[in-house]
Subunit: 183 residues, 2 copies
């Protein structure tokens, strides 16, 4: 099973990125978990360029096409989705394989909700298949934890494992359903 992670922060010491690296470390056996590592190199979305998309955009599109499911983690900036996160999604609105893709949104904050809700509204509008049991608050922000230590933290590892299991179960159910219909 293939999971692609999208991060909404470019900060080196980003806790959202740390959370996604932790998810990669904790991914169940058999899961190929990759983090899209070039969100900061995407150009700002321009509909005029969709027909001649630059190489970084193609690499995003290929990664999304490759994935069975997507996991998103992003901070909130000024009560809104970060420009980086939304820019990544703006490039995916017209990318057909994104539609109906299972998506989990990890909210890394203790209390922020504006960006989390706006992000889900956008994802629903993009016809994402949001996985309710995997859209969870994993409040690493505000803690003193080191971004690189999240996977080892007894506070967070169980929640991350549980969310990833929910993603895997959802994709398996979906895949079984498709198989049934094909028979």
């Amino acid at each position: 099973m293939k999971i692609l992670a999208l991060c909404g922060s470019l900060r080196v010491r980003s806790l959202s990125a740390g959370l996604l690296r932790a998810a990669r470390a904790l991914a169940p056996a058999g899961v190929d978990f990759r983090i899209f590592d070039r969100p900061g190199q995407l150009p700002l979305f321009n509909p005029d360029l969709e027909g001649a998309a630059p190489e970084t955009v193609l690499s995003l599109w290929n990664a999304v096409t490759w994935a069975d499911a997507i996991v998103i983690a992003s901070p909130e900036y000024a009560h809104g989705v970060t420009g980086t996160m939304k820019n990544t999604l703006d490039w995916l609105v017209g990318h057909v394989p994104f539609a109906y893709k299972p998506v989990a949104v990890f909210n890394p904050s203790y209390q922020s909700h504006h960006a989390d809700e706006a992000l889900k509204e956008t994802l629903r509008t993009m016809a994402a298949d949001l996985i309710p049991e995997a859209c969870v608050r994993i409040p690493v922000i505000g803690s003193r934890v080191d971004p690189d230590d999240i996977a080892a933290s007894a506070d967070f590892a169980p929640a991350i494992r549980s969310a990833l299991q929910a993603v895997v179960a959802h994709v398996q159910r979906q895949s079984a359903g498709l198989h049934d219909r094909a028979e």
Copy 2:
């Protein structure tokens, strides 16, 4: 009086950009109305870079510092603020002169409201001084109007003029208030 316009779309034939060019053409006498023309060249916001901001970011900061008021127009992408618009604002969250700056938000759509509301929530969080009489829906989107003809349109010119007059009146009131307090 100096007004800076920020656009949330990079499309050449953007109706939001057309609306702002129309506002420039219709600006009252004595108003220096400039459109920030490099939103697409801003890097994606990275807090790690705020201390050593690239030249395009400095030009944005200088333009905001220069302005007495700001006018914003942006489309809505997938029920959200565009990445381009939010990225511009992300670079301004930490730019002190943005706080308390009078801001007008023109909603160029007939029916979109998600992005307009999210944008205003972010602007309030950034301590912008939103001008209620100048935050108006001017629904050029959906019309057949040419972006370059908006200023000449009897359908839109009165609403644009009225909104700009509200911006001017607000800044004048504010400036008179400051003058009173200084005496």
